[in-house]
Amino acid sequence: MSGKFSIRKYLRDVPLPFCAGCGSLTVMNQFLRAVYELGNEDLSKFVYCSGIGCSAWIPSPHFIADSIHTLHGRSIPVATGIKLLRPNLNVVVFGGDGDIVGIGLSHFIHAARRNLDILVIMVNNMVYGMTGGQVAPTTPLKSKTTTTPYGSFEYPLDATKLAVTAGAVYVARWTTANSNELKESMKKALEIQGFRFIEVVSQCPTAFGRRVGFKNAGEMLEWFKKNSIPIEQAERMSEDDLAGKTVIGEFVLKQRPTLVQTIHKTIEEAQKEVEKD
């Protein structure tokens, strides 16, 4: 690779929208580093899809690339149409927890079931940040948000476990405090086919952290470090011991036929059958 990594060569000259201390900046930085370290001088081999929410703005309009900023929750369907007709392009979806496993949950499960060849990077800040900090499907129990002023009375969803169950071929979870592991994981995920999912537990100091007792992003990162348990260690722990902890690491790495492979095989067979007639 020629020269040193410079994030600027992948970004348009448009001001970034993120608040000070936002975890999306770490995700953007580490993703572009991963892309760079894999030897991509530009983003021409990629298409980015995102929905609505702060992290949907990681690629759009900032990446100098084809990017489609879709409706709330519908980035995966749009990515489906693109990937099936342009199998040679690397389709990457960025989204928040609300976008991917709230309003868009059904598409997430079905894309994993189909083994659609896309990488989904979910920035889980545990809250609806863009609208000012409402409870999300991922908000920890008892957390105060603007719509749970007495503390959340719902149990959060584990998107990573769900991706494993639904059939994803690569599933990993990191926090923004593990930025190097995150980057290496992104590199790995970008090099394989099928439905790949990376959850990044991320800080939103503005709309979440300050309401649950953290003064700034740094305090949230400290919390992530203290609260995360590597999956190898978690396997030896009881469910009670793991309550409220974030298990990090690679959950699945396997191979099975992808949707692009199976659908294009079907087309070949249909065409052969017609030629016989």
């Binding site: 489609i68 900023h69 369907p77 489906t80 149409g81 007709l85 392009l89 059904s106």
Partner: protein, 380 residues
């Protein structure tokens, strides 16, 4: 076998729509089962792979419409087909396709609503949903076939208009037309006009402005296209607070349809320059009008008929023309006065507008009922 061979076929309406999509160049279909549109998905699931295209059943109508938008940005023609409940779910994506100027075809085979209503029975109650279903300022193009032959022709027309104007186009069919079987004549494919979207030159960058209908790149072609449902400038960059950016974009994408009504809106007219009584109809109801007009004419009544092949944009010109001579205009439709008010808005100063409505059980408005209304109107 590729697209259908020229000749005469005995087809169901939904089958004609599916075959027409292939002729028009559609290579991606995504849908979700729903009566009375399912046969389109079934037929395309068999036929599209044979021509190298993709048909996929998605998890719901939100995903169906979303994947169609994605497919269109790969430079391919794409379609989905549904009925009332699914059409309701697709409204948000229709707005997205409109503001991002994404050509695609949405078939709505109307059944009886609201809600689940009478799922297997014919209705014409989605006329206004087609026009105003999505939020914000929007201009729709919607076509209304009244025969199986027209299911074929107007499906191709829907693709052509969507490619030409870079906008979603709705084929507003109904259960009767979609499920009945009729003879269809297919001309040689080379005689069928096919429109393809304007592509950008290699150095072009403005894909959302400058021209009234800007050129459209595909992903993977090196244009680094930025597509967003937020208000954007001509280069696709979000401008979420700038009043001028919003006006410029939203006025342009409405104007490209409203300024071209004469080119888009097609009507079939009968005797509109010399009639006492006028009729405005569309879809399955118009077939009963033909017979009623014939009966009225044998009894010496002068009846004019405007049949809307294009429901939206509305053909004001033809209605105005009709109202110059017709003193009364009857609007028969299988809903509760949806088209009536549109006709009234245009012609109420020069003619009395008379509704004729029937809903429920898929019962059609009969030629006798229309004829009765004609004679009643002629008496005063």
């Amino acid at each position: 076998m590729k697209a259908v061979k020229p000749g005469t076929y005995f087809w169901q309406g939904n089958e004609a729509c599916a075959e027409a999509a292939i002729v028009a160049g559609c290579r991606f279909f995504a849908g979700y089962p729903i009566t009375p549109a399912t046969e389109i998905a079934e037929h395309l699931s068999k036929r599209l792979p044979q021509v190298g295209g993709i048909a996929i059943q998605m998890e719901d109508e939100l995903a169906s419409a979303g994947s169609v938008v994605g497919a269109s940005w790969t430079g391919n023609k794409a379609m989905t087909a549904t009925s009332g409940p699914g059409f309701s779910l697709m409204q948000e994506t229709i707005g997205y396709a409109f503001i991002t100027e994404t050509p695609c075809v949405i078939v709505d085979v109307q059944r009886l609503g609201p809600s689940t209503g009478q799922a297997t029975k014919c209705g014409q109650g989605d006329v206004m949903q087609t026009r105003w279903g999505t939020h914000g300022d929007y201009s729709a193009i919607a076509l209304s076939p009244n025969s199986v032959q027209e299911m074929f022709e107007l499906t191709i027309k829907a693709f052509n208009l969507s490619e030409k104007y870079r906008t979603p186009v709705i084929l507003l069919a109904d259960e009767i037309i979609a499920h009945m079987r009729e003879q269809v004549t297919i001309p040689p494919i080379e005689n069928i006009e096919i429109t393809n979207r304007k592509k950008p030159k290699p150095d072009e960058k403005a894909f959302f402005g400058l021209d009234e209908i800007p050129p459209m790149p595909a992903v993977g072609e090196g244009f680094n296209v930025v597509v967003t449902g937020s208000t954007h400038n001509e280069y696709g960059i979000r401008h979420t607070a700038d009043p001028l950016a919003h006006r410029r974009l939203v006025e342009r994408i409405n104007n490209k349809i409203q300024k071209n009504v004469d080119e888009i809106a097609q009507v079939e007219t009968h005797n509109i320059d010399n009639c006492q009584i006028g009729i405005v109809s569309f879809g399955c109801t118009s077939r009963a009008v033909y017979e009623a007009v014939e009966t009225a004419e044998t009894k010496g009544l002068k009846v004019g008929h405007v049949r809307l092949k294009t429901i939206w944009p509305f053909s004001e010109k033809a209605i105005k023309q009709l109202s110059k001579t017709a003193k009364k205009i009857i609007v028969p439709e299988m809903n509760l006065k949806q088209t009536f008010y549109e006709v009234e808005r245009i012609a109420k100063c020069s003619a009395e507008i008379i509704p004729l409505n029937k809903i429920g059980g898929g019962e059609l408005i009969t030629p006798e009922e229309i004829f009765e209304k004609i004679s009643e109107s002629a008496r005063f």
